[in-house]
Amino acid sequence: MADSQEIRYFAGVHPNRPNWSRLDVLGTAALGLAAFGFFWWLDPALQYLCRMPQFYPDAAFLREFTARPGGLVAYAANYLAQWQPTAWQGALIAALLLLIVCALARLACGWANAPRRFPAFLVSALVLLAARYDYAWLETALGLVLWLGGVLGFEAVPLRWGPIKWLCSCALVAVIGWLAGSIPGGALAAGFFLSEGVGGKRWGLGAACGLSGAVIAGVLFRFDSGLTMGARVFSRSNWVVWLGVILLLSWAAGWLMEFALEQWCKRRLAPVPAKPKSAAPAKSRPAPKPAQWPAWFGRAGEYAMVLAVFLVAAMTVEQSQRSRLEMERCASRQDWAGVLDWAKQAGPIPKPMHLQLHRALYHQGLLLDQLFAWPQTSAFVLLPGPEAGFQVWPVLSATLLELGQPNLAEHWAHEALEVGGERPDLLLLLAKINAVKGKLPAANVFLNRLRQCPAGRDQAAAAGREISEPSTEILRLRALKVNSDYPASRIPVSVLLQQALLANAANRMAFEYLMAHYLLSLKPELAAKHLGRFKDFQVKTLPRHIEEAVLAAQREALLKTQIPPEVDMAGFTIRPESRQRFERFIQLLAQHKGDVVAARPALAREFGDTYWFYSIYETTAGTPAGLKLEKSP
């Protein structure tokens, strides 16, 4: 028997090579289809937007990846990610990777006598991870492919002499560890131990391979700054906890179900032993055959289980994260209505999206009507600085550019470029900034770089056309450029907005942002001083928050001086409903005898989306869920 196995071994046919039945073909096809559909539904473009992996086909860029273990897998993953912006291409690549992992895992399990449910487990884990948009999924999948490839390569080596096989295992751990990172390297060492020790009962060789592999992986770990696999899992315990729970529970449930089914089948399919008709000796009768568990049953269960995992993953997808990414996508397309729609579903809005929200409100003409209908706190200013963090800087830069401050926009875009790397969105932004500044050669340098990134070619071509024959957008931004200098290490928000207004009185965005800034920084009296400027923008009725600010300023002045203040309304009037609401607000406050803590729930219910509420609590209470996106008449 041993000899025949050896012969097959050398002929390239492994003795434990799994056979592919019709069920496997059907199951794999179903798995592939389900995976493609699932990934398409997830929208790889959003995954790309979340992590924005860069890829440039030049030696300098490659060098950045070759300096650390796992870098090359990250490089390959970044390359594959360039197809993600086109959803079907990204889905196809992800589905194919999943199938490759599944097939390799099946082969590896067959050869190493590993538990046959292991491939299904791996595939399910990958599917669940894919539902986390910010997870380095492609890197993980490629790492798994390399890991499984290493296990198979080791198994396929037709070596009988232990020391050579041990050396081979060390070399494989070193190579795979360098390519994919120390964690796949360590997993490979564990795989060798299981394969040789547990599977092949060669405990000595298994232990030697496992231990030496672990040492090599440990050495690689020291240099593995990327930690392509696993590091994120351990660093983000919030969702990992429940992900792990789901995985474990589903598997436990699956195996329990399988066990129950097996028992049921044994009972139902086992032949009922016939009563002996005579007293003939029992040993002369053949023993009844044990109940047969249908071979296809377990495998079909596995496929069903994996398919069920797709459902679990779809149900547990991080919707808030998805909404935030959709917001970002809409903002990049300047679909401002879309930004507001998605913002309603996004839950807590992160800082960069907060800036996009303000831009969207302005572009929809709602900034001074709906500002306080969205979460605002005095801690987060309208145009923050470095303290807001790197994620904010690109949006801050885009906002400043729109406001007519290309130099300040350039500052933040470069800061973001330094931290975020040569991301396509940043290159595009910098090209636009330089085009607005009139530095076309510099704009072209950024666009030329963008052209080298596979995912940025189309954008670069479109932007190149916009810049060479200045589009109306570029011309508009050039007309808004400030024309006076204000040398400072940090310019106060009100100064930079006033400077923009001084350069171009028709800069409506700067004006509305200035008003919004006065409101957010609790200076209603300053907002009230500029009512006449609304006429310059053909505003017929004062925006709601401005009315609220005027009423608040009037009351404050009255309380201070006991004389009704004279406010130059510039021909505007406060709408009666606004006055009534303000009276009601004061009444509610009075009911609680000025105890703002006690009054908060009641005020939040009725006035959580007003400047008045914000002016007391320095935060808003309105939830955007039921918000109607309509501006003042």
Binding site: A67, P386, F390, Q405, N407, L408, E410, H411, H414, E415, L417, E418, V419, E422, N434, K439, P441, A442, N444, V445, F446, N448, R449, R451, Q452, K481, V482, N483, S484, D485, Y486, P487, A488, S489, I491, L496, Q499
Partner: protein
């Protein structure tokens, strides 16, 4: 009669136009047309910016084997034949004939580019700092060295190798790489200076700003500045304000600091030290102290002071060019190694010319004190960070002329009369390299030999130095002279950290 006159006039006009067109050299990028090149430079690969799919390029001189290429628009010149051609034609002309494939077959001549090969080689190695256009934050920067006769670029020290610290100005003695110094800013190691000598690196626990070796190698003149970056809302975005600066000396052989009163006056901001090749003069820039609000009015004089190495005696400060006279601000004086010339920058204001599009290069003939603006090498964008080659025939400098944002190293030839040739950009293997390269070349410095210290040695000297020294303070001064300075990543200058405020000797 009239038609005949008209005909002859038209014919003459056509002939003149045709001849002019035929003599206009074809456009190529980078612009390697009408330049003087050193005999030891790497092939000047270029891209032909003329219509056509296929081109025939012939590089030839009066001597040697011509190089003939049939190529697309990108012309990649083979290294060995290039070297042979340059060598054969030293002191002569190098011509590049370009023809394009004609639609009906054959070739149509586009013209000839004529360059000159200088007799004097440029120093073989160029060391520079590569970084993105930085503002406050930096993540990736490093010092690199390029062998000028080929394209190989070597990492001297990359900040990724020591925890993303900051690596600042590199400074060589007499265009040699031993000794040399590097300024470092590192969270664990503080802000030391690394001094490399005889293949060993010593960590000097002291931050220096802009530094200059005395030709004897015994001491270093350095600046201690209190710099801050600020921004303009129009024009060039970045600018640097130097609130307070002094010059000092570090005696390498005695491991001692000295703050001579003559170059650290309380009422003046002294910066950019540079020694004359004989070591008898220290050139520097100096301006009165003004607040940030008046940053655009701060203009530096170009000055020098005599120094006697034997006695350590200083002479009187002498103004070579006063800001009041020029209306401009001087920076970065660099005497030529033969001692005949001094090249420096003049810009609208301030002391940091790379952020000033107005920055241009000027030359003083030290014998006649005649100052000339170097019209042939300046551009509308910033031209600065210049460095002489050891034979005083070549100057490399950083210029933003290509796009106004990214500085690139340009070479220019200086003849015996101090006349400069049209500058050309450092050649790259890919002729379109600069069109998409998002890093800027900072402080290009020429050396005649490569840096032999391995990157690991620098890293070791930063993180776990085998040799570390703490400079002794100036014995003439009290505790107040422990001027604590932090090297700034953006400006490569220094700024104070916690500790006693910089004091000025009386």
């Amino acid at each position: 009669m009239i038609p005949r006159h008209l005909f002859s006039t038209l014919l003459a006009w056509w002939c003149v136009t045709f001849l002019a067109a035929a003599q206009t050299p074809p456009r190529i990028s980078p612009d390697y047309n009408g330049i003087t090149l050193p005999p030891n430079i790497a092939p000047l690969n270029f891209r032909i910016e003329e219509p056509g799919q296929r081109f025939q390029v012939r590089l030839h001189g009066a001597q040697g084997q011509a190089i003939e290429l049939t190529t697309r628009a990108e012309v990649i010149i083979p290294l060995k034949p290039w070297r042979a051609l340059l060598e054969a034609n030293i002191g002569g002309a190098l011509r590049v004939d370009i023809a394009t494939a004609a639609p009906g077959g054959g070739w149509t001549a586009l013209g000839t580019i004529t360059n000159r090969i200088a007799r004097e080689p440029v120093d073989g190695y160029l060391t520079y700092r590569l970084l993105r256009p930085l503002y406050n934050v930096f993540t990736h920067l490093g010092i690199y060295q390029r062998n000028l006769s080929e394209y190989a670029e070597k990492v001297v020290l990359d900040n990724q190798s020591f925890g993303k610290g900051c690596v600042n100005c590199h400074c060589f003695l007499n265009q040699r790489t031993s000794p040399m110094l590097l300024q470092i800013r590192h969270r664990g190691a503080g802000n030391p200076m690394l001094l490399a000598q005889s293949n060993q690196v010593t960590q000097v626990s002291r931050a220096f700003g802009y530094s200059a070796w005395h030709p004897s190698g015994r001491l270093i003149a350095y600046s201690a500045n209190k710099l801050s970056l600020f921004y303009h809302t129009t024009g060039e975005t970045r600018d640097v304000y130097d609130e307070e600066s002094n010059l000092g000396l570090y005696w390498v052989d005695r491991n001692q600091l000295e703050i001579p009163p003559v170059i650290s006056r309380r009422d003046r901001q002294e910066t950019w030290p540079a020694w004359s090749p004989d070591g008898k003069w220290l050139y520097f820039c100096s301006a009165p102290a003004l607040p940030l609000e008046r940053a655009r009015e701060i203009r530096y004089d170009l000055q020098r002071v005599s120094f006697d190495l034997a006695t350590g005696a200083w002479g009187e400060v002498e103004t070579l060019l006063s800001a009041a006279d020029s209306g401009l601000s001087a920076a970065q004086p660099k005497p030529s190694p033969d001692g005949r010339f001094l090249m420096f920058c003049l810009c609208h204001h301030g002391h940091f010319p790379i952020y000033q599009p107005s920055s241009d290069l000027y030359l003083i003939n030290l014998a006649t004190r005649q100052i000339q603006r170097l019209e042939t090498i300046n551009s509308p964008e910033a031209d600065t960070w210049h460095c002489w080659s050891s034979n005083s025939r070549w100057v490399v400098f950083s210029s933003k002329r290509m796009d106004g944002v990214f500085a690139r190293p340009y070479f220019t030839y200086c003849d015996a009369e101090g006349q400069f040739s049209k500058p050309f950009v450092l050649p790259q293997r890919d002729p379109e390299f600069y069109s998409s390269f998002l890093r800027t070349y900072n402080v290009p410095e020429l050396t005649i030999e490569p840096i032999t210290i391995a990157s690991e040695q620098w890293v070791e000297a930063i993180q776990a130095p085998r040799r570390a020294v703490k400079p002794q303070p100036d014995p003439r001064l009290g505790g107040g002279q422990t001027m604590s300075v932090e090297v700034d990543s953006i400006t490569s200058g220094t700024k104070p950290v916690e500790g006693p405020s910089p004091s000025k000797p009386q």
